[in-house]
Amino acid sequence: MDEPEFRVVDPLRRFLWWFSPPAAIAVIGLILVLVTGHVTGPLKHITVVRAMLASKREFFEDEQVKRILMANGYQVQITPVGSFELAEKEDLDTFGFVFPSGQSAADRVRERRQGQHAIAFRPFFTPIVLATFREYADALVKAGVAEQQSTSLYYDLDVDKMVELIDSGALWSDQGLDNRNRIIAQSPDPCRTYSGAVYVGLVAFARYRHPPAGEAEAVKMGRELKPMFDAEGQHGEDMAPKYFVPEGRSFAPIAVIYEHQFLAHQIRELERNGRLDDQRVLLYPKAQHESAPELISLSPEGDEIGRLLMENADLRQRAVELGFHVLSPGGAPEIDFAGFLGQRGVPVPRSGSGNTETWLPANALLKKMIGEIGDCRW
C-alpha cells in the first residue's frame, strides 16, 4: 500500500498554469477582431432604430448596407408594410423613421406629424416598370404593343395599346405561347402599395387620356377598370421576390416592380455567374413614373440614418450597386448611373427621365379610384 503523497502547490502558479493559455488566445482573438474592423457587440454601442418601410426595405436588408450602418453604430429594425398602410398606422409615432415608396404616402405622414419631428431625405429614385420574360416580351412585340430598345434587356411599352389588348380579353396562346391565361400584368395590391396604385394611375391614363376631374369621375373610372384588376385575382404585396425565383413564370408572366429590383438582380447575376440573366427583361412604359421616395425621420436617430444615406460615400455607392439612381442633397442625380452600369457590364436602359408625374391623379382622387377597384380597408 502506497503512502499518501503530499505536494506543495503554489496557488498563483497553478492559476497561471491554467489561465494563461486561454487568456492568450482571447487576447490574440481580440487583436485580430480589432485589426479586421469587425468589432461589434459590447465594445461599441449600437443604436437600434425601428423603421417602417415598404419596397425600399430591400436596401436596408442588404448585408453590406447593414454592415456599413453597423460600423456607424446603427442597426435598423425593419417593419415591412405597404406604403399606404404605413401612412395610416396607429403606432406611427413609435418609429425612428419611415420610408414609404411614393410621394402621396409621404405627404400623408407629414400631415399626421404636423408640429412634430418630421425631416425628409430624398436619397435616391427608381422608376416603376413591368418585368417579364423574354418570350412574353417577344409576344408583346408581335402584338404591336412593345418595341425592343437598342439593348437586349429592355423594351418600350405602349401602355395604351397594352390596355387595349388586355381589355380585348386576348390570351397568351393567341400570340403563339403555350399559355391559355389572359394577357394581364400582375400588380401589387393597389390598396396597400404605392407601385400598385401607380399602375392603376398608369392604366387609367392610358384609357382615358386625362386624370379624373373630380370624385364622381374617379369613381366612374374605377368601376370601369375593376374587371381588369379582378382578372388578376388576389393581389400580393411585392411581386419582385417571386418574379426572380427560377419558378417566376409560374407566379406571373408580367409583374409590376421597381427598376432597382431588376438591376440589382442583374448585377448579382453578373457577380455570381459572370453573365446576365437574359430570360428576364423589362418593359418601360412610355409614360413613365419615377418614384423619388422620401425617408421621413421622426427622431434624432432617424435623422442620423437619413444623413448617412445622403452623405456616407459607402452607402451611396452601395445604393447604386443595388440599382438606385442616387440623388444629391440638391435633388440632382449624383453618381453617374449609366457609367456605373456600363462599367459593370449591365446594358443601360433608355428610360424617360423627364417630369412625367403629371398624369397621376391627385392623391385623394387616386384613392377614390382605387377604392372602387379593390376591397381596400381604408
Binding site: I25, Q77, N181, G233, V245, P246, E247, R249
Partner: protein, 478 residues
C-alpha cells in the same frame, strides 16, 4: 497531464466562442400539417439561433380560426387569411412547392405527355383515375386543388369570379375522388393498390417516392394549363416575439438553411441563388390566378359537398323524320363533345328517351366506367327516324323514369302532332323536375316555353356552338 491540460484549454476556448450564443427562446407555432417533415431542420435552427419552435399542426384552411393562441403561424399560404382580412403584418415566404398530381407511372402514361386539368377530369369522370385529395375545408392543398380545377374548367384564363363557379363542371373531376383523409399521403400508402393518384405538394410526392414505401412510384404531373404554388410564409402573430421571429426568418432564408430544406424536404428554395437540383430543376408551367373572393371559395365548397350524390339527367330526343340530316347530326355531335369537364361521370345516371310518334327507345345507365357511356352513344347513333312528333307523351314518359335529384332535357325541332295533347299533359300531377328544351329549326318556343318555365327551366336555341353550352348549362347546379 499535458494532454488533460490541452483538452481543458480547448474546452475553455470552444465554450468561449459560444459564450455569447443567443438567448434561448421558445416560439409556439401553428403550422400546416405538411411541415411535420421539418424536424431535422428545426433542430439545426435551434442549435444555431437558440430559438425552439414548438409546432402544433393543423390544415392551412382551418388554421385561420386559431391564430390567437400562438406566437407565429407557418402555413402553406397566407391567401386564405388575406381573404378574410386576417393576414398578419409580418410575413416571410420561406420555401416553395407547387400543388401537383402524383400519378402511378402506368396511369400517367395513359393521361398523355403533359395532361391538363381537363384531361385529368376526363379520366376521373370516366372512372379511369381514382385519386386522393385533402379535405378542402381543412387543408390548403385540398382547397388549391379545388380552385385549380374550377379555374381550368371555367376556361376564362383569369381568376375565378362567383359567376364562373359552375359546380357541374367540377363534378366529373370529383367523381374520381377515392378519399379525402386528413393525411392524404399516409392514406395513399395504405390504399396504394386500389388508388391511382394523390393530389399533394410536389415535395410530398417526391419524398414519398424516395421513402421506398410505394410498390409503384408516382410520376409528378404538373397540369399543363396552370398550377398553384405554395410559398410557406412564416407569420408573426405576437409582436413582442419580434426578435426571435427575426432570428428564425433570417436563418431560414440563409443559403445553408435553404439548401438543407431542399435536400431534406424536397421543397424549392425561396432564394433564387440556391440552385434547384435533380427533379426540382424542372420548370413547372403556367400559373392559375387565385380568386380574390371568399364567396368564390364558399361556392366551390358547396359544389364539393354536393359531389357524388348520384344525380340523374334525362335526355328526350326527337327522332322524327324532319330531324334527318344536319339536325340529328348536330345532336350526335353535342353528345360526342361531352368529354373533359363535360363528360358523364361515374355515379351519374343518364337516361335517353328516343321518340317520334311514340317512344322508340329508352335506355338508362348509371355510369361506372367509360364503356357505359359508349352504350349511350350507340343509342344516339341510331338512324331509326320515324313519322310524327309526340313531344308531350315522350316527356310524360321521361317524368316517369325520374328518380330523385334530376333534370330533363328535351331536344326537338317540331310541334307536337301525336300522342298526349298539351292540356292533358299539363293536367297530370307529377313531381317538379327542372326541364329544359333545346329548340332546332321551326319548333315553336311558345308551348315549350310554358312547360319549361313552369319547372324553372327554359328554352335554348340550338345553334352549332350553343348546343354544347346549353347542355353544360342544363347540367349545371341549381
Amino acid at each position: 497531464m499535458p494532454v488533460v491540460r490541452l483538452a481543458v484549454v480547448l474546452l475553455l476556448v470552444l465554450t468561449a466562442c459560444t459564450a455569447n450564443s443567443p438567448e434561448q427562446v421558445r416560439l409556439s407555432v401553428l403550422a400546416t400539417s405538411e411541415l411535420a417533415d421539418l424536424g431535422p431542420v428545426l433542430a439545426d435552427l435551434r442549435r444555431d439561433t437558440g430559438v425552439e419552435l414548438t409546432m402544433e399542426y393543423r390544415g392551412t384552411v382551418e388554421a385561420g380560426t386559431e391564430l390567437a393562441n400562438f406566437d407565429a403561424a407557418w402555413l402553406s399560404t397566407s391567401r386564405f387569411l388575406r381573404l378574410r382580412g386576417g393576414e398578419p403584418a409580418l410575413s416571410t415566404s420561406t420555401m416553395l412547392s407547387p400543388l401537383v398530381f402524383g400519378v402511378k407511372a402506368g396511369k400517367a402514361a395513359r393521361l398523355g405527355e403533359q395532361p391538363s386539368w381537363a384531361d385529368i377530369a376526363d379520366h376521373a369522370a370516366a372512372g379511369d383515375l381514382k385519386f386522393g385529395m385533402a379535405d378542402p375545408r381543412v387543408s390548403g392543398s385540398g382547397m388549391a386543388a379545388l380552385v385549380g380545377v374550377a379555374t381550368a374548367a371555367a376556361g376564362t384564363g383569369a381568376a375565378l369570379r362567383t359567376a364562373d363557379v359552375r359546380c357541374d363542371r367540377i363534378q366529373g373531376f370529383l367523381a374520381g375522388r377515392a378519399f379525402d383523409a386528413p393525411d392524404v399521403i399516409e392514406e395513399f400508402v395504405r390504399r396504394q393498390d386500389d388508388v391511382d393518384a394523390v393530389v399533394a405538394p410536389e415535395s410530398a410526392i417526391l419524398s414519398l417516392n424516395a421513402s421506398g414505401r410505394l410498390r409503384e412510384p408516382l410520376k409528378v404531373v404538373y397540369p399543363r394549363d396552370g398550377i398553384v404554388l405554395a410559398d410557406y410564409p412564416l407569420m408573426l402573430l405576437r409582436p413582442e416575439k419580434r426578435d426571435a421571429y427575426d432570428r428564425v426568418t433570417q436563418w431560414l432564408r440563409s443559403p445553408a438553411a435553404q439548401q438543407a430544406i431542399m435536400d431534406r424536404t424536397r421543397r424549392r428554395p425561396i432564394d433564387p441563388a440556391v440552385a434547384r437540383t435533380g427533379e426540382l430543376a424542372a420548370p413547372i408551367g403556367n400559373p392559375l390566378y387565385f380568386p380574390d373572393s371568399q364567396e368564390v371559395l364558399d361556392r366551390l365548397l358547396a359544389a364539393y359537398d354536393r359531389a357524388g350524390t348520384g344525380r340523374q339527367i334525362v335526355f328526350v330526343l326527337d327522332y322524327s323524320k324532319s330531324m334527318a340530316g344536319p339536325r340529328v347530326e348536330g345532336l350526335r355531335q353535342a353528345f360526342a363533345a361531352l368529354n373533359g369537364f363535360d363528360r358523364f361521370y361515374v355515379g351519374e345516371t343518364v337516361t335517353i328517351v328516343r321518340f317520334a310518334g311514340q317512344v322508340l327507345d329508352e335506355r338508362s345507365v348509371t355510369v361506372t366506367r367509360k364503356e357505359d357511356v359508349d352504350a349511350l352513344l350507340a343509342v344516339v347513333a341510331s338512324d331509326d327516324l320515324r313519322e310524327y312528333t309526340a313531344i308531350w307523351s315522350a316527356l310524360d314518359e321521361a317524368y316517369r323514369l325520374v328518380h330523385g335529384d334530376a333534370s330533363i332535357v328535351v331536344m326537338t325541332d317540331g310541334e307536337n302532332n301525336a300522342g298526349l295533347g298539351l292540356a292533358e299533359f299539363l293536367g297530370r300531377k307529377r313531381a317538379a323536375v327542372p326541364t329544359y328544351a333545346i329548340r332546332f329549326g321551326e319548333a315553336g318556343p311558345g308551348e315549350l316555353g310554358r312547360v319549361t318555365a313552369a319547372t324553372g327551366g327554359r328554352v335554348v336555341d340550338a345553334s352549332a356552338k350553343s348546343l354544347l353550352e346549353a347542355v353544360r348549362e342544363i347540367r349545371g347546379c341549381r
